[in-house]
Symmetry: C2
Subunit: 132 residues, 2 copies
């Protein structure tokens, strides 16, 4: 399998694959013509990376998962190092969600306060017969 096919099968681009290779995350063998060559195993690694990226993991944070798979384990998170990343990410998410929730509350309070003072601002939101 060449780079274009792998990219298509993983729903990404060739540019992305070359970038991963430049980071040492997904190295490729080369054919006689210099073309990159991949196999089904690489597709599995790539899908692991993409899944974590979609979760908002930094590229570096996916490395333990990739190495875990490459070491022969059935899943990318079958290794302690991957679990460490999971736990750290959970903590980060908790902190972030907490902060955002706090900000949301403050902004909501400001909006409520300001709406009461601006003419035409407070859009009438009836408590009766509403759909929200």
């Amino acid at each position: 399998m060449r780079i274009g096919e792998l990219a298509a099968r993983a729903g990404t681009t060739t540019r992305t694959l070359r970038y991963y290779e430049s980071r040492g995350l997904l190295p490729a063998r080369r054919g006689d013509n210099g073309y990159r060559t991949y196999d089904e195993e690489d597709l599995k690694l790539l899908r692991q990376i993409r899944t974590l990226q979609d979760f908002g993991f930094d590229l570096e944070e996916t490395r333990p998962f990739v190495e875990c798979l490459r070491a022969g384990h059935p899943e990318g998170d079958s290794c302690p190092a991957s679990l460490v990343v999971y736990r750290r990410k959970l903590a980060e998410l908790d902190t972030l969600i907490e902060q955002l929730t706090s900000v949301r509350a403050q902004v909501a309070a400001q909006l409520t306060r300001a709406e009461a003072a601006v003419p035409g601002g407070p859009e009438p939101k009836c408590e009766l017969g509403g759909h929200g």
Copy 2:
């Protein structure tokens, strides 16, 4: 008041103030020597910007608030345009918090699943006598 003093009083840097000016957000008068000159009103504008920035507002999103103050209103959110930004930001925050919460749940599920399979992974979290 010159740029250094204003920056210090607002807890920011001169670089930041020059950046705001380059964006047309906080223009400055100039003295005979070419130095930027600010007054108490500018400090108020700057504090409004900083507060919103701390909330995660983009710089452009602070513009209506600044213009509102500059128009003579008592608060930056005393104008309809500011309220529009508030509401949009609230919607963004809700979406973001929702997404992050979803991701958090998925990561937590993965962690739980993986911990059950990795030797040394599942740190014993007793249900009895805990403090969590």
